[in-house]
Symmetry: C2
Subunit: 259 residues, 2 copies
C-alpha cells in the first residue's frame, strides 16, 4: 500500500512543540504535509477569514515533511491545504497536539478541534489531539505510541461520514497512562470572571478568566476517564440537530392564528 498522506495542523502555531512532536510521530506512519497557522490561534473556535485576505509560504523545519505557514485560523489552514497546497486529498487530518485540554465543552471553543471538524466536513477522517498540560515544555512523547495507534486504527477502519475524534491525553507518564476510553462529552462549563484593570489613560479593560466547572461525574464522561488516568476519545459530530427535541418543539411552535 502507498504511504498515507497525512495533513497536520494545529491552533498553537506551526512552531509550537505540540505540533512538532505530532509531526515526528506522523513521519513514522506516512507522508506528512503541515499547513498550520503562523501565529497562535487558541480559542479561535470555528472562525474563518472572510473580511481580510490570506497568504501562506513554505518554511523549512527539521524532518522529511513539508511545512507551510499560513496567515489564517486553523479552519482556514485546512481549507487552504485542501484547495491550494496538497497534491491530492489526504488520507487523514490530524490536529494538535494542543497545549492544554479540549475535553468536554472546550470542544466548541477549540481551534484544534475546529480544524479536525473542518476535515470531517470535507469528508476526511480527522482527529484532534490535546495534552492536559499548558506548558510550552510539556512532555508530548509519553503518549506517542497511543497517538500512532489511534491514527493507524482510524486509517484502517473508516469512520462514518460526519464523525471526527476528540482525543485528550492526561498529563501522566507512559507507565501511568491506563489505556484509552471511548467517552461522551462531559457536561461542564467555564464559570467566567473578568479580571478588571485600568489602562494608563484611566479606562477600564478586562482579561477573560474563569474556572472550569465539571458537573458530570458519569463513568463514561471524558473528564472522568481523564481523571482516572485514561486517554479519552470522544466521537464528535457536526450535525448539531437535537433530533430528540423536534417533536416537542413542533407542538410548541404551532401558532394559533388568532393569538
Amino acid at each position: 500500500m502507498e504511504k498515507p498522506l497525512i495533513l497536520v495542523t494545529n491552533d498553537d502555531g506551526i512552531t509550537a512543540p505540540g505540533i512538532r512532536n505530532l509531526v515526528e510521530f506522523m513521519n513514522e506512519i506516512g507522508e506528512v504535509i503541515v499547513v498550520a497557522p503562523n501565529s497562535p490561534q487558541s480559542g479561535k473556535g470555528h472562525a474563518i477569514t472572510i473580511n481580510s485576505t490570506l497568504s501562506y509560504e513554505e518554511v523549512h523545519l527539521d524532518g522529511p515533511q513539508r511545512d507551510f505557514s499560513c496567515s489564517g485560523t486553523p479552519v482556514d489552514c485546512v481549507k487552504m491545504a485542501l484547495d491550494k497546497i496538497l497534491p491530492r486529498r489526504p488520507d487523514i487530518v490530524v490536529s494538535g497536539i494542543n497545549h492544554g485540554a479540549n475535553s468536554s465543552i472546550n470542544v466548541i471553543y477549540s481551534g484544534t478541534m475546529s480544524a479536525a471538524v473542518e476535515g470531517g466536513v470535507e469528508g476526511l477522517p480527522s482527529i484532534g489531539f490535546s495534552l492536559l498540560d499548558f506548558s510550552w515544555e510539556a512532555d508530548f512523547t509519553q503518549a506517542k505510541e497511543y497517538i500512532q495507534r489511534i491514527v493507524k486504527k482510524v486509517i484502517e477502519n473508516p469512520m462514518p461520514k460526519g464523525v471526527v475524534l476528540n482525543v485528550n491525553i492526561p498529563k501522566l507518564t507512559k507507565e501511568e497512562i491506563k489505556g484509552v476510553k471511548i467517552c461522551k462529552q462531559a457536561n461542564a462549563k467555564w464559570e467566567e470572571s473578568f479580571d478588571e484593570r485600568i489602562n494608563p489613560h484611566g479606562k477600564k479593560y478586562y482579561w477573560l478568566t474563569g474556572y472550569f466547572n465539571n458537573m458530570d461525574e458519569s463513568e463514561d464522561a471524558d473528564e472522568t476517564a481523564l481523571a482516572n488516568g485514561y486517554i479519552s476519545i470522544v466521537p464528535v459530530k457536526f450535525d448539531l440537530t437535537a433530533y430528540e427535541y423536534m417533536n416537542e418543539l413542533n407542538e410548541i411552535m404551532k401558532f394559533d392564528k388568532t393569538s
Copy 2:
C-alpha cells in the same frame, strides 16, 4: 408578570440594521439590553478572546433599551454581558438578525449562532435569527411577527437544557412566508475556492470564496423548508458526542497488546 429581560447580541456589529430591527421587535416584548461587538465579527464561530484584552462602553442609540458596545467576539459579548453588565440573569438571549443565512453547516461558522450557543451553555433560553439576505438594506420587518411569536413561545415554554434554536428566514414578503417549520440541519457544505491576487510587492494572497453545495433534499432539512418559503427552526445542541458511534468505536480502539 415582570417584563422579561432580553439580552440582544449579534455578529455584524452593534450598528448593523439587523440588530437594530431585532432590538425594535424586542422592545415590544420586554426590557432590552444590547451587548454587541463594536465591529463586524462574521465567520468568527465560537471564538473567544484569550490572548488580548476586552473593553466595553455604553453607547446611546435610539429607543428605550440600553446599548453596550464591546471590543470582543459575539461569544465574548455574551460572557461579558452575564458577568459584568446585566443587572440580573436575562430571561432569554436573542442573537441577530444576521445579514445572511446560517442554515445547515453554517451553524458551525456563525458568530450569530455561537452567541446563541454560548447563552445555552450558560443555561439560558437562546435563539439565533438570520435572514437570507446579505444586503445592508435588507428588509427585516417582513418576519417581525414570526420573530416576536417565536421569542414569546420560547419564554413561555422552557426548552430542555442544552438546546438552543437556529431560526432562518427566507427573503420573502410577509404574505409570501408560508409559516414556520421545525427542521434538521441539512447535510451541506461549502466548496471552497481561493481567489488568488498579487499584492503590489509581487507576493500572492488569497480571498476565501466558494459556493454552497446542498446535498440534502429531505423534506425536513432546513434548506428544503427555506426553499419552499418557510421559516426554518432547527433545535441545536452543543453536546457534540456521536452517541450512535460509541459502541463501534469501542471495538475499533481495542488495542491488541501484541500489535
